[in-house]
Amino acid sequence: MKHLLLFVTAFCLLTACTNQTNDKLPILGEREPVEKIVDGKTVVDTIYQTVQPFAYLNQDSIIITDKDFDNKIYITDFFFTSCNTICPVMHRNMLEVYKKYKDNPNVKILSHSIDIKYDLPSRLKNYASRLGVESNKWAFVLGSRDSIFNVAAKNYLVAAYEDDADPQGLVHQGWFVLVDTKKQLRGAYDGTNEDQVKQMMLDMEKLLKEENLDEK
């Protein structure tokens, strides 16, 4: 009898854990409640922060916009090609993600260069091909100062700025931000930390399932 009780408790605990891992990923960023009237009743709905429309030049000198990411989940980060601090570490990790999802059309990667003066498409192309990225699944993009520092960084809640005190003049955080098909932020992971990037890949599976993009 005692054993049975123990067994039941253990079972409950175990299922509790598995239930938790099946939970949806959180939605990050700002949110505001909106009151709507549905069928004569007032209902409170929440509007979550979404990524604003954007247009950048990619490594093939083609303009890519938010439309290219419709119905896809994507990961985004900030870097520059001559950065020799955290960027190589981030992109060594990101390369694993790229390899894993190489043949999955529902996943994309978007890397913003913050070296707006020098990272022209030709340099981005050179960087991409030397990294071993040949498809447009992983876009390396260039934008204006305003669109990168004020819009993109704020959209994704990543700090990136120009700083004369830094030896390379540019400072940015190493977050990988996971964005869903509704352009909501669903996760932020330290791109320089291998374990967190592994966690991100697990979360991407979860998100693909949630979005019903996993079959194919």
Binding site: T81, S82, N84, T85, I86, P88, V89, H91, R92, L95, D115, Y118, R123, N126, Y127, S129, R130, L131, G132
Partner: protein, 141 residues
């Protein structure tokens, strides 16, 4: 006769101890360089060349080419200290194919990094001390 044998044994034993002490010191120095070199590598080199010296695609070369390392061993100190490739100047503030120099590193640091690199990642090239670094640096372009 018996005494002579004992003396010989004692003599050989002391020679062995002296020899051991010397090689131990070399071994100890090697260990010291290697351990410090690992720390310096992690701080100065690892971001680009990777934790296992694997490099990153064609962006950053791997450090696993034993033949290259042994052939260009006397150039390694210059590369670490002064960088290699297109120099970064006011007119070319960014360079695609350059490794930045590390002028702040002392000879002993460079020697330790070289010992670590040339004895890790599948390389086994033994000790390299700071006097050799000083010599090699005289030959930099």
């Amino acid at each position: 006769m018996r005494n002579k044998l004992l003396y010989t044994c004692a003599f050989l034993f002391s020679v062995m101890i002296i020899f051991q002490a010397c090689s131990n010191e070399l071994e100890l120095n090697y260990q010291r360089y290697f351990v410090n070199g690992k720390g310096l590598y992690e701080k100065n080199c690892q971001n680009c060349h990777g934790p296992n010296g694997e490099g990153l695609g064609k962006l950053y070369p791997p450090l696993t080419d034993t033949l290259f390392l042994s052939k260009s061993k006397s150039a390694l100190a210059c590369i670490i200290k002064n960088g290699i490739g297109e120099k970064i100047t006011a007119s070319t503030p960014r360079s695609d194919n350059a490794m930045p120099g590390n002028a702040a590193l002392a000879n002993i640091d460079i020697a330790q990094i070289i010992v670590y690199i040339t004895n890790s990642f599948g390389n086994k090239q033994g000790f390299y001390d700071q006097e050799q670094v000083a010599d090699d640096l005289k030959g930099c372009d």
